[in-house]
Amino acid sequence: MPTSAPVLSLRALSKSFPGVKALQDVQLDLYAGTVTALIGENGAGKSTIVKVLTGIYQPEAGEIFLDGTAVKFPSSEAAAAAGVSAIHQETVLFDELTVAENIWLGHAPKTKWGLIDVAAQRRQAAALLKSIGAKIDPDILLRELGIAQRHLVAIARALSIDARVVIMDEPTAALSHKEIQELYDLVETLKSKGKAILFISHKFDEIFRIADHYTVFRDGQFVGAGLMSEATETQLVQMMVGRAVDQIFPARVRNIGDVVFTVAGYSHPTEFADIRFSLRKGEILGFYGLVGAGRSEVMQALFGITKPSAGAVNLDGKVRVIRTTADAIAAGIVYVPEDRGRQGAIKGLPIFQNASLPSLTKTSRGGFLRLAREFALTREYTQALDLRAASLDQDIGLLSGGNQQKVVIAKWLATKPRVIILDEPTKGIDIGSKAMVHEFMAKLAAKGLAVIMVSSEIPEVLGMSDRVIVMREGRIAAELVGDAMTPEALVRAAAGLGEAA
C-alpha cells in the first residue's frame, strides 16, 4: 500500500494565532484508498489542519502537495475544486434548505439560463444518496433529519464534488452503535473507490478498527507516523502525551453510607420513562449508555431544566419538588453539564464571577456584592482543583477546556451540595486534567458527597463507579454492581442485546 506516492502531502506547515502556535512544521501524508488516522489530544492542532486543508485558514509557512505539485487553497472553493472535502458537524447544516440543496450548495447544476437546475439537482442527489445506501428523500428539509441521516447527507455532499481526499472529523461523535457500524461500512466503500481518507477520532477502538496509517500531533507539532498494524495502543498514547500514561484510576476510600437521594418514576412525554434509582452517601453512581440514550435528559430534569411529566424526588427523607434550577440548587442538587462552553462556563466573565455565581446570596450582604468574599470563595474552591490561570479575574473563556471544567466544578462545590451530577466530566479535556478530575471525584465521594457520573467511556465508568445504571432509549436497561460490572455487560445492556450464550 504505502509504496505508491501520496495523493496529498503537507510539509513544514505552520500556522499561528495571536499568542498560540497552532501548527509548527507539521507534515502529513494521505494515500489513495487508505485511511489515515490523525491522533492527538485537544489542542494538538487537528482542527487547525482541517481548516487549512479546506481553505478556511491560510498557513504562514510550508507547502501542500497534490500529486506531487505544490498547490494553495486560498478559499474553500479552491479546496473543493482540488477535490478536498471535509465531513464534520459543521459541514452541512442548513436546516431550511432541502437535502438536495445541502448536497449541491455552491456547485449546483445549472440550466442554460444560469439558474439552478432543480430537477437535475434532485435527480443527482437521489443517485448519490442511493450510492451510499441512504434512504433519504432529497426534497425534504434538512431540519427534519436526525443526526445520523445528516451525516449521510454530508457524505453525499463530499462525494458530489468528486472528492479525492475526504476528511472525517470525529464522524462518530454523535452516532449510535448501529449507526457507527454503518459508517464503517461506508468508509470501506469510500476506500474501495480510491479516496484518500483522513480520519480524526479520539476513540482508540475505532482507530484500530478502520485506520491503515496513523499520524500523531502533539501541541501543534508532528510527533510521528506509521502503519496501524505495527502500532500498539500504549505506544500511541505515549506519543500523544509525551510520557507513559498508565490508565489507572485513583484508589477509592469506599465509605458508603445511607441512602440520601431517591428518584421514583421520573417520566417525560418524549425523552425518558420510569426512571427509578437511589443513591447513597459517599457513592459514585455511573450512568452508561449510547449517546442519545436519554441520560443527560434525565439529569437535566433532576436539575430543573426540563419538567418531568411524572415522578418524585426524595432528598434526605424529604420529598422535593424541583421546578427550576434554583429549586435544585437550594435542595442541594447540582449539575456539571456536558456542553461546557454553552451551559457551564459564562465566557466573557472572569473566573471569580463564574465561581461565585450560584453562591452570590452567601457572599453578598442584603443583595449587595462583596467582591473580597467572592475572591476568597473562589480561591478556596479552585485551589483544591489546582486551577491554572493568570489571575482570578481572568476571562474564563481564555482558559483551556480542562481549567474551565475546574472552575465549573469549583462553582458547584462552593454551594456545598448534597448530590453532584457530572455529565461527561472529562469529555474533551486533556489527559492531565482528566486524571485531576477523577482524583477529585474520588475525594468528593470520600468526603461523603453523593456523586452521579454520566459517561460514555467504558474505562471511566468502570474505573470510577461503585454501581452502574445503563440506559437505553430513555429507560433503565440494567443496573450492575460488583463483579457484574464488566465491559461486555455494559455494551450488551446499552445495545439491547441479550445475555451471551
Binding site: L93, D137, E144
Partner: protein, 330 residues
Amino acid sequence: MKAALTSRDALLTYAIIAMTAGIAYRFPAFITPSSLANTFNDTAPLMILVIGQMIVILTKCIDLSVAATLALTGMVAALLDGAGVPLALVIPAAIALGAILGMINGLLVWRVGIPSIVVTLGTMTIYRGVIFLMTNGKWVNAHEMSDAFKALPRLHVLGLPMMSWGAIAVIAVFAVVMTRTVLGRSFYAVGGNPHAAVYAGIDVGRTQFAAFTISGALAGLVGYLWVSRYAVAYVDVAGGFELDVVAACVIGGISIAGGIGGVRGAILGCIFLGIIKNALPVIGVSPFWQMAISGTAIVLAVAVNALQNRPKGRLILKPDVPPSAQKVQA
C-alpha cells in the same frame, strides 16, 4: 399536503381571506376589481421594500435605513429631473444611488464588523440629514417636476398602473432569484448557519453586503416611484416607514434570527397590512386606528410563529408511529 395547508403562509392567507370577506360582507364595494387594484397599487412600494428587507433579515441583519434611503434617492431623482435630466437616466440613477447607499451599510457590516442595527440606525439619520444639507430643508413640489417624471407611475398598462407593474416585476424577479440562483440560496445558508456557510464556500460578509446592496437598490427604485407618485419631495418623506417594512416581514413569517422565510410570506405580510390600511376608511374607522392594529398584528404574528416553532424535546422514547422524517423512498 397537510403540512402545506397548515403552514404559516396558509394561516396568513386564511386570515387575509377572512378579513377581506368580513369587510366585503358589510361593504361589497371594497372587493370590486378596481378597489382591489387600488389597494394593491397603494401597497406596491411596501412590497418592493419588503423584498429587500426580507433578504437582509434572512442574512441575520436588519436594515433600518430603507425609508431614509428612499427619501434621499427620491429627492435626488426630483432634483435631477429639475435639472433637466431625462427620465431614462433619472430612474437608473435613483437605483444606482440606492445601491450605493446600501453598499455603505453593507461595507460597514462586512468590512468593519459593526452590528447592522447600529450601522443602519446611524445611516438612517445621516441619509435624512444629507437631504437637508442638499436642499436646506426646502420642498420640491409638483410644479417643479416635469410631467414625464410624474406620469410614469400612474401610466396604465393592461389596466394596472406602472407602479403596480413595478412591484409585480420585482416580486417575479426575486421569486426566481431566491429559489433558483446560487446567491438566493446563499442568503438562506448565511442566515441559517453562518459557520457551515463558510465551509460551503460562501463568504458570509460578502453575502450580507449583497443583501444590503439589493435592499438599497430597491429602496432607490421606490424613492423615484414614491416621489413621483405623490409629486412631492422633502426631508421627511416616508418617515417611519422602515417600521412598516419590518412589520410586514415579521407578519409574513421572516424570522428575525435569520434563514427562515420567503417571498410569498413577505408579500402576504404586505397584503395583510395593505388591506387594513385601505379598508379602515371604507368601513368608517378612523385611520388613527391603523397604527395600533398593525402593532397588534406584529405581536400576534411573532407569538404564533414562536408557538409553532416551539421545541418539543428530544424524541428518545420509542415512538409508536415512525416519524415522518424517516420517509423511506421506495
